[in-house]
Subunit: 293 residues, 2 copies
């Protein structure tokens, strides 16, 4: 890949023109085989670099490497991931590391330092995090993201049926767990907006801390008041293989549609390396049609 | 370190004689400096190897590397971690990777493959996992652990005050989130007991899937019915620096005390590399006194 590229953007830049397409880089063993690549660190590197090239060539603004598939090969896999993320960022792509990290105190600081520090080996533009230890436990990562001009995406509501026992539970304040995460994140962004960290775009002022809401989630059924969280970007995985359609994005997210980063993984990657760029262009058209619906 | 050692044991072996001491390997930057080590991959390797040596020399049966601190240095940090875990396992220590991973489907399978597969670069004896996506989402890791004779420890109730908004929330079935995780894990162990995976020890038959319950948690206040989860091992972090005392272990865990792996990190590591072995022997005596209380 070429290494010239834009400076790393903020999430507000990514969403300046509304909903943005994201390519998941999910090199699981079956996809490596389908792409003719070895299940090895070299295969992982080649897969990631080719996926990032297709994202650049199709003007897909965001890539989301799924860290588990690199971690399978230990330090050699992470060395491949470092190369993929560095090349993608150098090419002007916004790199969202899907690691779902979550811990407390100095350990949470450690994860933030690993993924969100300028110059870190694994430096990304954004990181997914998991709030089982409470939204407040993620504060070290919130501080690190803000300090570095980067983003976090906090798991809120996911599409899988097993999630209800946690995410639909009712917290002491009467909100669902998922709804409480969404409101808590928006409150963080509201505080930050006063610092000028948000940007004015077509969608208004948004903050750097986002949530993850599965594309097949019914927001109202999960207690998610999207309209009451107007400053919060949304990462929506699940388009394609998990059953949601980009053409339905407005039906799911309504007035929040312009704040959505819509992720496609298998739906795009199954096209294979030669067809991936063209497939991403098709999916961008589907997304544009869904946004306009 | 010497590389002779026992075959990797199961968690039932670890707990055969009752509560077991665990040394957290938490090389955060301040501790590296206090040990006279560089904040680098080499420093992380040296810290981990010396901590594991002290665990071996003091007959501390379990070590728990905190993965975030190795991840800070990217692939080089993970290469150091691989060396530390391999040396610890070769010396007969039981290695519990504290990574708090959690995801769904093939991604969860990827994490299990990274940490729980025999021969994996990052092979451990047990892994901590996070259930924000629901206990059922962890099933690929449950299957992997059982298949490999290894263990999982699922986050249930942690000590930090921010956790209440998630862990004390009430699920649709009327249980607290934390209580539901505990009961769900015990149900998994009950199923498995029929397959002879549990072992008969002094504490009775226990299964391979554990929970994490902070040492300063008040189990009843969190909706945790420890007596109704008799097959489930418990990892209890928080002894020492976070305020819990090993001498109080029975006051917290009652009849479940014999199923507890009690973790000390800073409380031991602050002794420094020369004093660590002696400090671990003292802490083992405190634990024994607490168990006998």
């Amino acid at each position: 890949m070429s290494t010239e590229g834009a400076l790393a953007a903020t999430v507000a830049d990514v969403l300046r023109d509304g909903a943005a397409l994201c390519l998941g880089i999910d090199p699981h063993p079956a996809l490596l085989a389908a792409w003719g690549l070895a299940d090895s660190a070299d295969g992982l590197r080649e897969f990631g670099l080719r996926a990032a090239e297709s994202a650049r060539d199709s003007a897909t603004p965001v890539v989301k490497p799924q860290i588990a598939f690199y971690e399978r090969h230990g330090s050699a896999g992470l060395a491949a991931l470092e190369d993929v993320m560095a090349a993608a960022r150098a090419a002007g792509l916004w790199v969202l590391a899907d690691a779902k990290r979550g811990d407390i105190g100095s350990t949470m600081t450690g994860y933030a330092d690993a993924w969100l520090r300028a110059g870190a080996a694994l430096e990304a533009d954004a990181l997914t995090v998991s709030p089982y230890l409470g939204l407040g436990s993620l504060q070290p990562a919130v501080d690190a993201a803000i300090g570095a001009g980067k983003s976090l995406f906090v798991l809120a509501a996911t599409s899988n049926p097993e999630a209800a026992g946690v995410q639909n539970a009712i917290a002491p304040d009467g909100a669902s767990v998922a709804g409480g995460i969404l409101q808590g994140v928006d409150a963080l962004n509201a505080e930050l907006a006063g610092d000028g960290i948000g940007r004015i775009g077509r969608i208004g002022r948004i903050g750097p801390i986002g949530v993850v809401i599965g594309a097949t989630v019914q927001p109202e059924a999960m207690g998610l008041a999207l309209g009451e969280a107007p400053r919060t970007p949304i990462l929506a995985p699940g388009y394609g293989a998990q059953g949601a359609r980009l053409s339905d994005i407005r039906a799911t997210f309504g007035d929040a549609t312009g704040r959505v980063i819509a992720n496609v993984s298998r739906e795009a990657l199954a096209a294979g390396p030669e067809r991936l760029t063209a497939r991403l262009r098709e999916l961008a058209q589907e997304l544009a049609a869904g946004v306009a619906a």
